[in-house]
């Protein structure tokens, strides 16, 4: 990788915009994951297995962005984010189709925000991520300087990206603890927290 300390103004602006777009994507994903965890514990809305897989997909989107901040921007890292964006769309679309008709075992679909339930929001978020990344690649993908410029050239973006990345790692650890509390190491269900519920024979 060529590390460019001094860039021509147009190239510098392009590289700055590219990293700013990556940072915004990661902040948005981290915000959504924080909201999901917040609603889980304040509104007592236990996530279903497909909901948890959607969280994994959002962490995957963050993972691709984090690699670009840590090791330099590359199409391989963008590909990782795209793979998980597509995975998010597939899981959320399937869950929307599962919940479209209330039936035994699938009667509860959670609360709605602005009239839309969470799987529908998730599908819209996946679409927004895909469109955003497509626009980012279309606008900045043709510039060789974008590939050769490390985020260290932009200290403010690098500092914020470091903070957000560390927050995403902490959030992922919190989700792992939450999943173990809810599911143990077995199959997930939405009846309660596996490790917090009393054993069946307790008084």
């Amino acid at each position: 990788m060529i590390f460019e300390e001094v860039l021509e103004p147009p190239s510098r602006a392009t590289a700055w915009l590219n990293y700013a777009a990556l940072l915004l994507t990661m902040i948005a994903a981290a915000g959504i994951l924080t909201a999901a965890l917040y609603f889980q514990y304040t509104a007592a809305e236990l996530p279903c297995p497909l909901c948890l897989l959607q969280r994994v997909a959002l962490f995957g989107v963050c993972f691709g962005a984090m690699l670009s901040f840590r090791h330099g921007f590359s199409y391989a890292n963008s590909g990782i984010s795209l793979i998980f964006s597509v995975f998010l769309l597939i899981v959320s679309a399937r869950q929307s189709l599962l919940d479209i008709y209330p039936r035994p075992g699938h009667a509860y679909v959670g609360s709605a925000v602005l009239g839309l339930h969470m799987p529908v929001w998730s599908a819209l978020i996946a679409l927004a991520l895909l469109i955003g990344q497509a626009i980012q690649l279309a606008l900045f993908g043709g510039s060789r300087r974008v590939l050769d410029t490390h985020v260290r050239v932009f200290p403010v973006i690098a500092a914020v990206a470091t903070l957000v990345s560390l927050y995403v790692i902490a959030l992922c650890a919190a989700n792992l603890v939450s999943v173990v509390l809810q599911c143990g190491i077995d199959q997930c269900h939405t009846f309660g927290y596996e490790l917090l519920s009393p054993p069946p024979n307790s008084p």
Binding site: L53, V56, G60, F63, V168, I169, C172, V179, D186
Partner: protein, 73 residues
């Protein structure tokens, strides 16, 4: 299984940030494979496979009168 998915994802992001990119990508590959497997396991039903029999389409040559009655003129 879900715990394994989140554990490998945590390893991916942590190693990707603090350590080695190749090792992080290996964890990422395992996480993706586990996620895909778990997704297919969750949506599969012994009764109707991957189909969703509650989704039905019905062909009408003209809109059903019942639906037309609900539309305000």
């Amino acid at each position: 299984m879900m715990a394994a998915v989140f554990a490998t994802m945590l390893l991916s992001v942590a190693i990707g940030w603090f350590g080695h990119r190749t090792l992080a990508l290996a964890c990422f590959g395992i996480c993706l494979a586990l996620s895909l497997g778990l997704f297919l396991y969750e949506v599969y039903s012994p009764d109707y496979g991957f189909r969703m029999p509650w989704l039905q389409v019905e062909r009408h040559d003209a809109p059903p009168a019942r639906l037309m009655a609900e539309i305000p003129s």
